[in-house]
């Protein structure tokens, strides 16, 4: 049997939630062991955190560059095999790029980069490197999301003519209406967050869900964003109308001021043979509709599910699987890819997903700024 994969971590120390999520996910299928890290830019905290979570401090590095240098000195069968990049957004690009240039596999948090330009450069870098690269569009790891993708591939919905994806959160509502609060929120600072807040942070997840489940690339979009206050420079709500190459149309709706909503990602897909409804906050139910028959409710772990879906289910039906499990499924796919085992192309989001995402975000802002016109996405 294979030994555990040697995992490096950049960022995610202390109370970082994203750190917890990645560590747990890496443990869940017994595939990974953390062997090196820069958890924190302050070396003392970096070491302290390693001790706290029982990672050997021998390979806790002072900074990213040192990590690369030192790891490259190690024999290949001791060296970090894959590195998770959990640092602030603007660091994703330089770190991922250098990791790829040195032959490391990479698991990169989303957004993959802060600009579409960078995303395309990273894509070229990956092509030269030929390693494994995953962007953590975590929600694609849910068994029922995978089930949608597989059923659509097999024609369960026939020709799709309508897709409607939503991502509504409310967490900016207590912040946005007071000038002082909104001007001191880093998410609303273009310096730190890039060109877009709402579309960049969550609209892009809805967009990814559209392309992941349907397998249909979006051809062009028309967007209307909302900034609510004149002094606010970042969109905190936005809708994008979608056109696919054929007669199908779609919508991506996202908001961070949908007061009282928690993490309302959802998608509905309609084709000439049937329809799907799925909601992240109730992730184990997939509603399957058709013209003439009773609605069906698919749940994880049954024999009627697709292989890809079953592969992402660890327990018998009726035992709710949550977000840790979803992320764990992505880590499992990456493990298979690194080991050269067979895997399904939906097992983890690839760099192409990251590239598409940045293309979408920049096109959204452009469409809005140019007066709500259609912007073609690159094919």
């Amino acid at each position: 049997m294979p030994k555990k994969i040697r995992l490096g971590i950049l960022g995610g120390g202390g109370d970082s939630l994203i750190g917890v999520l990645h560590r747990v996910a890496s443990h869940i299928n017994d595939n990974y062991q953390i062997v090196g890290a820069v958890f924190n830019p302050v070396m003392e905290e970096n070491i302290g955190f390693a001790e706290e979570i029982d990672v050997s401090t021998d390979r806790i590095y002072v900074d990213f560059e040192t990590m690369i240098v030192e790891e490259m000195k190690l024999p290949e069968d001791e060296r970090i095999q894959v590195c998770s990049v959990l640092t602030p957004n603007f660091l994703h690009f330089p770190m991922a790029k250098k990791l790829l240039e040195n032959g490391f596999n990479v698991i990169c948090e989303k957004p993959m980069t802060t600009t579409y330009e960078e995303a395309k450069i990273l894509q070229e870098t990956l092509e030269k490197a030929g390693t494994v690269f995953a962007v953590t569009h975590t929600y694609t790891g849910y068994p029922m999301v995978r089930q949608m993708r597989e059923m659509i591939k097999e024609g369960a919905l026939g020709n799709i003519h309508k897709v409607d994806a939503r991502y509504y959160q409310g967490w900016l509502n207590p912040v946005i209406h007071e000038k002082e609060k909104r001007s001191s929120t880093w998410r609303l600072d273009p310096e730190k967050s890039g060109i877009s807040c709402c579309m960049g942070d969550i609209g892009v997840h809805a967009f990814n869900m559209v392309e992941f489940t349907t397998g249909m690339p979006v051809k062009s979009i028309l967007a209307d964003l909302n900034y609510l206050y004149e002094d606010n420079q970042m969109d905190i709500d936005g809708t994008a109308l979608l056109r696919f190459g054929n007669n199908a149309k779609g919508i991506v709706r996202s908001s961070q001021v949908a007061t009282g909503e928690e993490n309302g990602l959802a998608i509905t897909i309609y084709g000439d043979k049937g329809g799907f409804r799925w909601e992240q906050e109730n992730p184990n139910h997939l509603y399957v509709m058709s013209d003439d028959n009773p609605m069906q409710v698919y749940k994880p772990g049954h024999a009627y599910n697709s292989d890809l879906s079953l592969d992402g289910t660890k327990l018998p039906p009726g035992h709710p699987e949550g977000i840790f499990d979803s992320m764990a499924n992505i880590y499992l796919g990456v493990a298979r890819a690194i080991r050269g085992e067979e895997y399904n192309d939906g097992e983890f989001p690839t760099m192409m997903d990251g590239v598409r995402g940045l293309n979408f975000i920049e096109a959204s802002v452009q469409s809005h700024k140019e007066g709500n016109v259609w912007i073609a996405l690159d094919s």
Copy 2:
């Protein structure tokens, strides 16, 4: 106590569902008695239907014009007081107009007219007539819809910044994909159905729900419609982006090819103090959200509900009220108006609702046809 109101009916004979709905609604609160009608253009069937439902055949008329002439000969306290117009859409305008001109009160099915032009003429006619006129936007009769309106009026949501209304049905899916079927469906024939199918038939209900609940008039819209096939002349799916006068934005989403959906009208409304979620297929639950507190589920018939909501609830909590009851609430409001009793301005949809609706429908088609540009609505 008052005697029952003398009700006339135009259309709605035979198996007509809309006929059943109006008759039942007129009975539910013991306010109306049908005294005259033209149920059917064929006199034999007209009489037959009157006998079937035990309406005296003395005042079953051969056609609408005859009805007007004969009723005007009767003394005022025997004459039809209010007439329900349930005929095909293109007849709504001429019938309603003549009824108003002769001093009758009118309950008119939706769409009120087939063009915005006609709608404005009807509005002028009503102003001269000074009678009661209701358009049956039936869904505004639900207790929880009324509850939303009242709570918003009282400031429960604070300043509203986002509204998202949906009306998804799937009934055109089995029709639209076969040329023969779609070319023989009257709803898809502009001669019979007017300028728009999806926006005109159901999108306008979602639009009305937005304005009814929020009390905020939509200032301009940008629409993208879908016709799916080149030979199809009528929209069967469409999305309209909405702008209100302030910084609030909204969406109206509608579809008749949302495969497997039945009658999916729903609305979410977000303000700085809270949010609402309501769905027609589960009409007795109103979800009330806020930043910091547990979500609340309001149900009809409780002391915590507004007067307008309670007025529309006939039974104790836990006894589901359905669409008949909703329509009945509207008939109740009209009865009060006819009798000169006090009533709340949300008790029945007025002609202004009809006028707004036509404005919305035509603006939707115009926005789409002109390349998805913003079209201002009349104020």
Copy 3:
């Protein structure tokens, strides 16, 4: 086409909710006209109410006995054909008995009588009379309840081995804990309410639902009731274990102190081929489960539904039907029976349902009082 059926009403005047429910239900399918009544024991209010709801006062009688005498003088084709008994519980028996003895059809509110003894006498009276008799177990009129019954008849669940019915309300919670309040509530007074409060008022509905849907008679029961306070003489909560003749078992759970519950009637049924789940507060969804397939959600009005279910559906899918519609379905079945038309044996609850109910209620109290022993029901 048939003329409307001549309906008499006993009780249900003024603000009576049960009066509203029966009047509306009688109107909904255009089958009935109220021609005679004793709405109220005070003649002045009796007349006033008749005028209020536009019933001719010619046949508003001073009391029940007078009504019988006077109606019997009328020619048969003018006489009341069917009489709805909506008076206080202890009057159901004498009124229904005399009506039957004089050849009237009867629609009787529940509980049919206050003792099992009376119920059996009434049954004998009906056998001699040979007229139509319905007990308003209203919930059997829901389309999806009828659907369960029909599917079970056709073998959809195979051999049933488990039934679990619940009826939880909370309305006695604000009353029961204060001595003064509980001693002044008529429902808790055995003089006025008979032998049982909770089992008699709502447990019996759950029991009826078990027998109506499964078609399996309960053979014996073991009950444990709760009176909560020593000075309280009436059960306000109770559970009955059920045994059927075969190896099947069941539960009837009921409570009026289930704090915050509204009208929580529900049933689950499990057989070797499948299972059903239905809840009165969400009456348009029937959940159909099986070992190997996705759960299905049946809704009213679709071609896949049984004839009996479709017959009780007046509008297209997605338009919620409520409690008025359910009661109206029962009135429709009675109309058919009176007219000698064909009807399904599930269209309205018969006297046998009433007899079984009283048997159940008395057996519940007996089982509890004798120390939770099994009591056989009459076969």
Copy 4:
């Protein structure tokens, strides 16, 4: 910061689901490291599995006895600190007993023992040993279950008068109806499974949930079990009526032939001030009811939650937490206890929970066998 706790594992090798669940849970909060194990009675598979999951094979032992002997030779700060017992049910007692006698902390799968007699002996052993002992009533680890317990402690429901717990599964339906299948199912073999199947396996979870959330010990029970077929010796369905010391009553309903049900554990609790409803298959929603106010929906991770609930929530609201997380919360509590840190008495189920469970199971069978009589539970 503390080093990881040294964890031993007995059983749970190969494809064992319970093995996965415990390993993942032990990883989730970075508190444990597996240092020794007997995963499998066949040494070759034992070693193979250790290699597969990257556990050092140095301390993989040939059997349980050897493990005890060898571990005791190690210095205390290298020795296994806590051992998870995941072996077949009949081994729980001898293993747990010996572990306690040698001073190990224990995490024991459920049922803790196969008889109440053994349970009481184990309890005495624990008293002498003075170590930490947890039984994995996993469902008590859900944030919203903890929230119920805390709110009840603080009086949110007032005096509780009614508790209704359900655990319905359907997995035995495809097995029970064929003689050959049911006679070859180990769960239905008293030699392997003990005195009870349904009550012992899942009824006891419902019972534990009743006592865990309410804090009220059950005083006596009356049970009716179902064996369905004469040759079947084990209950596959059963209901227990509960009496608490005061006027409160309750029900435990459980079934393994509830066709199509997956893992339907649920509880409702009613007191004079309010009511709770919670379902394991939708574990992140706690419904809070009261006489006069709208129902509230509590979800994990909000400031309004209790400390114990928040402690079991790792991510922000809206990110579903599942069964791994629930088990992980229990491991976290055990870690705190082992390290001598402060912890809440609801953080993990103690031996007393195990003892109560066995008492309940045996009393259930006794009540049924003696003709459905009340059996007092030990206090």
